[in-house]
């Protein structure tokens, strides 16, 4: 690849793809999926709605209402496809960009916004959604997910764990340790790597000299690469890998080959390190447009349907915005809450001192 060739645009031959960028259904000998028209329409709705929430969040950040936002733009299919493959009993461990998976796990988007607004460092109940808290340190959650999967093994439960991470995280020791642990304990886990080609400004070549999915073989479990912009392929491959995990066949690494269409976060400026024509080339592989084309071509949805989804998305964006703006700042005493489960004399003392100090201003 020359320095300015559009990254990843020529689809690698080993890519599992079930829906082309033009919306054509293609067969794959190992992975296939039967979806009803209703299921496809439902996936389309998910994709559109999570993109709308994401756009609203970017706007809120630009208006000073969020401190920062990590956009999922371009990665909707990878997240919705894999997220919809999960059963209620499965457990998901996200990074900080899995807003689409959070959507699939019924986490209120406003809870995600609250984290980026700075009202909490998390704030949803992971057990209620089987969706763990966002993890900001790169790759740390891979080990948590493997440990959780080892717990599933010990419980004898019919469940699996999925952990999300990016191409940059594959260089982290924790992710490699997680691969080793999962392999030797045969843990029921799916490693779902969204290779969006960029780790902030560092291209994939800075992380790996081989395709990421091939790393798995060195650890002793299967790895596959799917078209991360193809929601059908992501759903089919993740569903299969999760079932293998539940059946006692151990871990799978799925590399979802995709592209980060936006900046790393709202603080980032991708024009400093990547070329516009790369973005333009990837726009032609948009994860939503291909589903829309498929629904149109096969007469599975009409104009009215698309208008209805767009209207729902607008309403959702509006709702998320208004509830985000209404999020109250936590009271000062909240600094001291939940640091420990049990009583802690030092914190009690500091809390009392600080609240007394604050009360002094009210007299």
């Amino acid at each position: 690849m020359t320095a300015d060739a559009p990254r990843g645009v020529d689809a690698p031959p080993e890519l599992v793809q079930l829906l082309t960028p033009e919306g054509e259904r293609v067969e794959h000998p190992d992975y296939d999926i039967e979806l009803t028209a209703e299921e496809v329409r439902s996936l389309y709705r998910d994709l559109v709605l999570v993109r709308r929430v994401d756009l609203e969040a970017v706007a809120l950040q630009r208006q000073g209402e969020l401190g920062i936002w990590a956009s999922l733009l371009g990665q909707e299919a990878a997240q919705i496809g894999s997220g919809r493959a999960l059963t209620d009993a499965d457990m998901a461990f996200p990074t900080y960009r899995e807003h689409g998976v959070a959507w699939c796990r019924d986490v209120d988007p406003v809870k995600l916004l609250g984290l980026f607004r700075g009202v909490s460092n998390g704030g949803w109940d992971p057990a209620e959604h089987n969706f763990h808290l966002y993890t900001i340190v790169i790759g740390s959650q891979a080990l948590h997910a493997v440990g959780y999967a080892m717990g599933i093994q010990r419980d004898g439960a019919e469940a699996a764990t999925i952990v999300y991470f990016g191409d940059g995280a594959t260089s982290q020791g924790d992710v490699n340790e997680a691969f080793i642990w999962a392999s030797v304990f045969n843990a029921p886990i799916v490693f779902f790597c969204q290779n969006n080609q960029w780790a902030i400004s560092e291209p994939l070549e800075k992380q790996s000299k081989i395709p990421l999915y091939k790393r798995a073989s060195g650890f002793g479990f299967p790895g596959i690469r799917v078209d991360g912009n193809d929601v059908f392929a992501c759903l089919a491959a993740t569903r299969r890998a999760l079932q293998n995990a539940r059946d006692g066949q151990g871990p799978t690494l799925i590399e979802a080959f995709t592209y980060r269409m936006g900046a790393h976060t709202t603080s980032d400026d991708p024009t400093r390190y990547r070329l516009a024509h790369e973005l333009e080339a990837w726009k032609l592989k948009d994860p939503i447009e291909r589903v829309k084309a498929y629904l149109f071509k096969n007469q599975l949805a009409d104009q009215e349907f698309f208008e209805k989804i767009d209207a729902e998305a607008d309403a959702l964006g509006k709702d998320v915005r208004s509830r985000c703006l209404a999020l109250p700042d936590p009271p000062p005493r909240a600094i001291f809450d939940h640091v420990y489960a049990g009583a802690h004399a030092l914190l009690d003392e500091e809390r009392e001192q600080y609240l007394t100090y604050l009360a002094g201003f009210e007299r």
Binding site: D125, P126, L143, Y148, I180, W181, A345, L347
Partner: protein, 324 residues
């Protein structure tokens, strides 16, 4: 009464914990068939099986990271870090994840993970096997940090630590592993977050934890011959700190020396000196003095007797306190 070494007392405590609660797991390097390099987990795998006493791959971050995941699933993992100097690969998981996850969840998650660390010098070991990293962890909010000093406490403290819903760094004084004591296995222990006055005295307060408690007791016994009546306090818990016991003692004696193996500079003794000075300023006859390791890496073992504070260095500090 049963006579047990400190290592065996920990072993018995772990055994009781595992019997009481099927969710308690032991995990670490060589904790299974070998029973740990100090034999603290001896026989546990034989009795509780490989699913509950887990020999892990050799990766400390992996041990703590997967223990976090197991705790999220409802288990209570007790992790062994083989030696103090090997905890640093796990420092990221301990500091950024274990300590902070309960707050991140606004209290919905509990992480009852015990991280056992044999610490301190005095066994003639090679580099990285004699360190005292406690201050790194007392500085991290969200962790509880305790250190046992004797077999009786070791037996109850490990059980209390396993029962605690917060993550705990549990320091074990490795050169005292072979100390013996008579233990009443049915007797309840002092609460985990309380300090204990292990020797009462009128003239000066010595504060220590872990391996230095014994050294301070020996110093106190030696000083008695010179007519000095030394009080010795075993902190047991470093975070939280039982400040009231310290305050009461130093207010009464008017003098205080803090001893630990870790370097004095920004060591845990600095926190003790500051707190005691704040609380006891008008009672102090001398500044709170500190005795500890030097501001050097832990030396080669042929020099460790110079590095580790011994009875004489503790008494030298006592003399300096009385010179004010």
């Amino acid at each position: 009464m049963t006579t047990l070494t400190l290592a065996k007392a920990l072993n018995e405590g772990l055994r009781r914990s595992m019997e009481d609660d099927p969710k308690v797991l032991v995990m670490g390097e060589d904790v299974g068939k070998l029973g740990g390099v100090f034999r603290v987990t001896d026989g546990l795998q034989k009795d509780f099986g490989e699913d509950r006493v887990i020999d892990t791959p050799l990766a400390e971050s992996g041990i703590i990271g997967t223990a976090i995941g197991l705790a999220l699933r409802g288990y209570r993992p007790v992790c062994e870090i083989q030696f103090d100097g090997f905890v640093f690969p796990a420092a990221d998981q301990i500091i950024t994840q274990l300590a902070k996850m309960p707050l991140r969840s606004l209290g919905t998650l509990k992480l009852p993970v015990v991280v056992r660390i044999p610490f301190g010098g005095g066994i003639g070991a090679v580099e990285h096997h004699s360190e005292s990293p406690e201050a790194y962890f007392t500085h991290t909010a969200g962790l509880r940090v305790v250190a046992c000093s004797n077999p009786v406490d070791a037996y109850t403290m490990i059980q209390d630590a396993v029962r605690c819903d917060d993550p705990i760094i549990f320091f074990e004084p490795k050169r005292r592993y072979w100390d013996k004591a008579d233990i009443d296995l049915a007797a309840p222990g002092l609460a985990l977050d309380r300090a204990r006055t292990v020797r009462q005295g009128r003239d000066i307060t010595l504060i220590a934890y872990g391996p230095m408690v014994k050294t301070c007791l020996e110093a106190a016994a030696a000083a008695e011959e010179d007519g000095r009546d030394i009080e010795v306090i075993d902190l047991r818990s470093l975070n939280p700190l039982d400040v009231d016991v310290l305050t009461e003692s130093v207010t009464r004696t008017g003098r205080c020396v803090v001893a630990h193996e870790a370097p004095v500079f920004t060591g845990f003794g600095a926190e003790l000196a500051a707190r005691i000075t704040e609380r006891c300023f008008y009672s102090l006859e001398a500044p709170v003095l500190r005795v500890g390791g030097f501001s050097t890496p832990y030396p080669p073992s042929r020099l460790e007797d110079h590095y580790l504070p011994d009875l004489d260095r503790v008494l030298d500090a006592v003399d300096r306190s009385f010179a004010y």
